[in-house]
Symmetry: C2
Subunit: 252 residues, 2 copies
DNA sequence: CGGCAGGTTGAGCGGATTCAAATACAGTGG
DNA sequence: CCACTGTATTTGAATCCGCTCAACCTGCCG
C-alpha cells in the first residue's frame, strides 16, 4: 500500500487515509517497463498519460546539436516525469531510463482533476512542481558557481536526502547505477574529470562506491564539503512535531 | 487595458474578453515599487501575495556562503515572481530589482482559485510555470555545456524573444539595464570574461549596446551563434492560424 | 578467448579566472 | 562649470582548473 509517490508527498504534508488510498489507486493502474538506456519519453513526444517512477532511476536530458548531452535532473522513485504533458503540446526534453525502470501511468484527466481538488492532494502536486523548480535552480548554481569537487559532493548529498524521503537509503546506502559519463553529463564536466573528482571524495573517506551502490560514509563531512543547505527541497514536515522517527529531513 | 501579464499568457492561448477582463482586474489592485538593487522578495521570506512584474527588470538569485552570487532567471514584465508563495513556507531564493520596478500584488487566495478554474486561465497559469521550468533547464544547458560566446548569445536572444511576447522589443531593441557583473552572475562566469565576450559579439556586428538599451542587429546571425531553438518556450499559438501579425513566435 | 563498456592514468593545452590597474561615465555638490 | 566620487567598463598579464587526446586497465559476457 505504501508507494514512493505517496511517501515523497508526505514530506510536504500529512494525508488522511482516504487521500492515501486515492493516491495509491492512481499509481496502481497500468505499469510500463523501460530498459536501461531507453527513452521513457522521447524529446518532442506527446502523450495523454503522466509517468510516475516506481522503481529504477531515470533522467531528464537534452542532446545538443554538437553531440554533447546535458542531464538536467535525475528522477528517482516517486518522481513525476512529465507534469507538463496535459498542457503543453510536446516535451521540450527527453526522459531516459538509466537503470531498468517501472513507471505508473496516470491519465491526464485524473491528474488534472487531482490538481483542481481543494484537498491536500492538489496542493501536494503543486508542491512537487515547486520543489522540482527548486532542484533545478540548485543545479544551475552547481554548474555555474561551484567547482567540480563541491558540485559532485552536492549532487550525491542531494540524492541521499531524496532517496531517504522514499525510504530507499538504508544505512545511507542507495542504488547509484549512474556511469561516470552520466555523472559528467549531469554536472557539466568531462568524464575524465568526474572520475578524478570521485576518486578524491573516496580518498577523503566521504563516500564508498561499488557494484552500483553508493554509500555515504560521513554524512556530516559530505554535507560540509557540498556546502549543502536543503531549504530548497522544502521538506516542511521536518518541523512538524507530529512527524516522528528518522526521516529525510534529519539531513537537511 | 492591455497588461504584460495578459500579453504573455496570450502566447499560450486565446482568451475571451471576459477572461481578459478577469486577468486585468487581478493586476489592477495594489502596486508595489522597488528601487534598483533592492529585494522585491528577500530569500527566506513569506507573504500571502504574489508579485507580477509590470515594469522594469528583476532577477531570481541566490547568494552563496563564499560571497558568490548566481542569478537563475531574469524576470521581465508579465512574469510571476513567486508562484510558490501560497504553498511553500518560505522562498528558497531572493528576487531583486535590477532596474526600478513596479509589481502588481495578487492575493494568494485569488491566485489559488484562478489555478483551480476549469477555464483557460487555470491552464495558462500552469503553462507559465511549465515554461519557467523549461527556461531553467535551458539555463542549465547554458552553464553546463555551452562556451562563453554561445552562452551569452543565447541569453540575449532569449531575452529578445521574451520581450517581444510582451511587445517591448520594437525594432529588436529592448531595455537591458543589466550590468556586466549581473550578466556574469547569470552566466556563471567572471565579469572580466563577460566583458570580453560581449565585445566580441559587438565586433561581429550581432548586437549593439548603449545607454542600457540592447539592440539585436542581426537576429538570424545571433540565433545561429546561440544555437537557439525556442521549443522550450512553448509559444504554442505560433502554430495557430488565427494568430496574425508579427509576434514573438517569428523568432522561435 | 575476444570484445566491449566502464573506469583509470598521464601529459599537454587552453578557456576562463585572478589580480590589478586604467579608463569611462553619471551624479552631486561647491 | 568643474572638481569630486562612486560605479561600471575596459585592458593586460600570469595562473590554474578543467579539457583533450590517448593509452591502459578491469570486469563481464558471449
Amino acid at each position: 500500500m505504501r508507494n514512493p509517490w505517496t511517501l515523497k508527498m508526505e514530506q510536504f504534508t500529512a494525508f488522511s487515509d482516504m487521500e492515501k488510498r486515492r493516491l495509491n489507486d492512481l499509481v496502481s493502474g497500468t505499469r510500463e517497463h523501460c530498459a536501461a538506456g531507453q527513452d521513457i519519453i522521447p524529446d518532442g513526444a506527446h502523450s495523454d498519460h503522466c509517468h510516475v517512477v516506481l522503481t529504477g532511476l531515470a533522467c531528464r536530458y537534452k542532446s545538443l546539436p554538437d553531440g554533447k548531452r546535458q542531464i538536467m535532473a535525475f528522477l528517482i522513485p516517486g518522481d513525476l516525469c512529465d507534469a507538463e504533458i496535459f498542457i503543453l503540446k510536446m516535451m521540450d526534453h527527453g526522459v531516459a531510463a538509466i537503470s531498468d525502470t517501472t513507471t505508473a501511468l496516470v491519465s491526464a484527466s485524473d491528474m488534472k482533476s487531482l490538481l483542481r481538488e481543494t484537498s491536500s492532494l492538489g496542493e501536494a502536486l503543486w508542491w512537487g512542481t515547486m520543489t522540482d523548480l527548486g532542484v533545478l535552480r540548485e543545479r544551475i548554481i552547481d554548474v555555474g558557481r561551484r567547482n567540480a569537487h563541491v558540485r559532485i559532493a552536492h549532487l550525491i548529498y542531494e540524492m541521499l536526502v531524496r532517496y531517504r524521503m522514499v525510504e530507499l537509503a538504508p544505512g545511507d546506502s542507495f542504488k547509484f547505477p549512474i556511469t561516470q559519463v552520466d555523472l559528467a553529463d549531469a554536472t557539466g564536466m568531462t568524464p575524465v574529470h568526474a572520475n578524478r573528482t570521485l576518486q578524491k571524495l573516496r580518498a577523503d573517506g566521504l563516500i564508498a562506491f561499488s557494484q552500483g551502490v553508493m554509500t555515504v560514509l560521513d554524512t556530516a563531512a559530505l554535507k560540509a564539503a557540498a556546502r549543502f543547505n536543503g531549504d530548497y527541497l522544502h521538506l516542511d514536515r521536518v518541523h512538524d512535531p507530529a512527524s516522528v522517527g528518522r526521516r529525510a529531513g534529519d539531513l537537511v
